[in-house]
Amino acid sequence: MNNYQLGLIMNSCISVIEVVSVFIITSLAGMFSLGQAAFMTISAYLTFVLAKMLHLPIILTAAIGLGMSGLCAYIIAVPTLRLRKDYFTLITMGFGEMMASIVVMLEKYTKGSIGFSSIPKVKSIFWIIVATTIAVIFFAWQLKRSRFGRMCIALKTDETAAKSFGIDVYHLKIKVYVIASCISGLAGILYGLKNRVITPDGFSWNLSAEMQIFLFFGGTNSLTGAVISAFGLKLLPEMLRNLTLFGVNMQEYRTVIYCLLILLVINFRPEGMLGDKEMSPSRMVRAMKRRLKREKS
């Protein structure tokens, strides 16, 4: 496994963490946020700029960065969640745009568009990223199976009915959004640790849209679907890097192919690849058995 493949796996793991955070927001709680990249920016820049300026250990400044992401998420969510669903999307989108320009404005500390490159090299960064990814997947898996997961799915399908069973929809949504934004922040920090350079347009509006598209592609309610689609779709452009179809190097058309794939899913499999099913080996075995029985009879 040379560095190239390790690098790809790390990219996919970071993409999985991003998509899990969007999974918690959209699949569990039914909120549609287009500004998750902004939280990646906040955490990443705060962690590495503070670490350099105050010479603090990365672990400490990472905690500050995540805390700040959570705080910003809280500040956005509290006023906006009372309004209609569309407005939440618009506000988060506006917030994403604003964060990029704030980073450029504070260029004395963040070095603006040149990119912040004094990030220390962390040993065995690969295992840290893989371990964090598995932890985040475990985190989301447990959340979905706990009472919070049930309450979220309930409020996602029908808020009024959920309220009449004592679920405090407003505060639960805020709690879920804050936690998910911290996870996005975590993805930002790992991105910084892996690439060792962060630029404001690295966490752009397209990245937020990409996370939503990956989640949607994997299956609107299935965690395993989201994880597999995030892992696979992040690898896809790399696979196309050296593929030549009809004599034309596919490298230049990667984005086009990638989006056409997503459009096909939107049209012909609207609930995403796995829809609601949580694919897991035991369930697949059972499905196989059922199919065999059907063929025999």
């Binding site: 320009s101 991105y191 890097r241 080996p281």
Partner: protein, 391 residues
């Protein structure tokens, strides 16, 4: 939960199976050189001619016998002016294909991620990422051992333009209009302002714009009212077009100075008439009897159908010459460390512009390359009108 983990591991293993391992670096077969360019993404209008130039130069070197008889295999990867893509491209070339040197892109963003990697993998990278961050460590000032720039850095270019304006044009009051979220523009604007202030000029206004902005009339009015005699524009061509028109529309009659992104086809695309425009040029492209830049540029235009001459072709040719000369001197051209040492002492390498280049070992940037100053005559043709050698 265990089920999900097995899922992930299955994916990882499946992925690693089909990816081929890295070939060792043999010492008599063809030499593998990588080239990382912006084939897609925001800067593809610079990246494509650059990539064409590298292929053309390598073809010419192979025809002339390659490096001491060994042919060169070129592998081009796209970095889409994005850091993650840049890293993928770098690792693909180094770990997967096993190249022993890389020709870098024209822009600095992706390059800033390779500074330490190139030292660990001992892969010399010769490129045109003019930003000092890519060749010297901004905090410590120490030079990155394997990063080399084959073109005057941004600040050197800005100093040249400022010196020309102060000395030749005798202008005192300057203004700058640039997009701070564009690394290329920021790396030009700040040195220009610094040089003007140190050398008796006065900076009357520094105005900015963002990627999403299209209307710069407010900035143009502010600059005109600030009494500036000249404005320095250093963004990409698309933004420079809008800035030029905004300034002329706002009634600015002074000189308009620029980096090499004010070159043609600016003159025939702006709406206002073109006068008093001075910009930097690495090469005297339209003059056939200076070096081979003229032949290079026009063969690229013939091959790819671009309408106007692209200086990036010259950059690509120069980078290849610098690298190939160093490799020819090395006993084992695939040994990165030896090649890097030789690159540090590059002197007298003939470039497409006709003059020679020598790289300063302390900064890994050329210390003898000046810049042409060009302007537009009445029928919008580019005319070289000056030369500055400040470094």
């Amino acid at each position: 939960m265990k089920k999900l983990l097995t899922c992930l591991l299955v994916l990882v293993l499946a992925f690693s199976l089909f990816a081929s391992g890295a070939e060792e670096k043999s010492n008599d077969g063809p030499i593998k050189i990588g080239s990382i360019m912006d084939l897609t993404g925001g800067a593809s209008n610079m990246g494509r001619p650059h990539s064409w130039g590298v292929e053309y130069a390598i073809k010419k070197v192979n025809e002339a016998g390659g490096i001491n008889g060994r042919q060169i295999e070129l592998y081009t990867q796209d970095c889409k002016n994005d850091i993650t893509e840049g890293l993928n491209a770098y690792h693909k070339l180094v770990d997967e294909i096993g190249v022993c040197a890389i020709i870098g892109p024209a822009l600095s963003n992706p390059a800033s991620a390779w500074v330490d990697l190139s030292a660990e993998d001992k892969i010399p990278i010769v490129g045109h990422f003019m930003d000092e961050v890519c060749t010297t460590n901004p905090d410590t000032g120490a030079v990155y051992p394997y990063m080399f720039l084959a073109e005057p850095s941004c600040s050197v270019q800005s100093y040249d333009m400022a010196a020309y304006a102060l000395a030749e044009l005798g202008l005192k009051k300057y203004a700058v209009l640039y997009n701070p979220s564009n690394a290329f523009a920021k790396a030009h604007a700040e040195p220009f302002i610094a040089y003007v202030k140190e050398n008796g000029g006065e900076v009357t206004a520094v105005e900015t714009m963002g990627w999403a902005d299209r209307d710069y009339s407010a900035q143009a009015i502010k600059i005109t009212n600030s009494g500036a005699e000249a404005v320095f524009l250093c963004d990409y061509l698309a933004q420079n077009l809008i800035s030029y028109d905004a300034l002329r529309d706002a009634g600015f009659k002074g000189a308009i100075l620029g980096a090499n992104t004010l070159a043609p086809p600016l003159a025939d695309q702006v709406k206002n008439d073109v006068y008093d425009v001075y910009f930097l040029q690495n090469y005297d492209m339209l003059n056939p009897n200076v070096g081979i830049i003229n032949e290079l540029v026009f063969s690229e235009m013939a091959a790819t159908g671009t309408e106007s001459p692209q200086c990036n072709v010259g950059f690509a040719w120069d980078a290849v010459q610098v690298l190939v000369e160093a490799m020819k001197k090395a006993k084992d051209p695939t040994d990165g460390e030896e090649v890097a040492k030789l690159l540090e002492q590059t002197t007298g390498v003939l470039l497409s512009s006709g003059d020679t280049i020598s790289i300063d070992p302390a900064t890994h940037r050329p210390n003898n390359m000046g810049m042409y100053i060009a302007t537009y005559d009445e029928n919008h043709n580019m005319v070289i009108c000056g030369r500055e050698d400040i470094y």
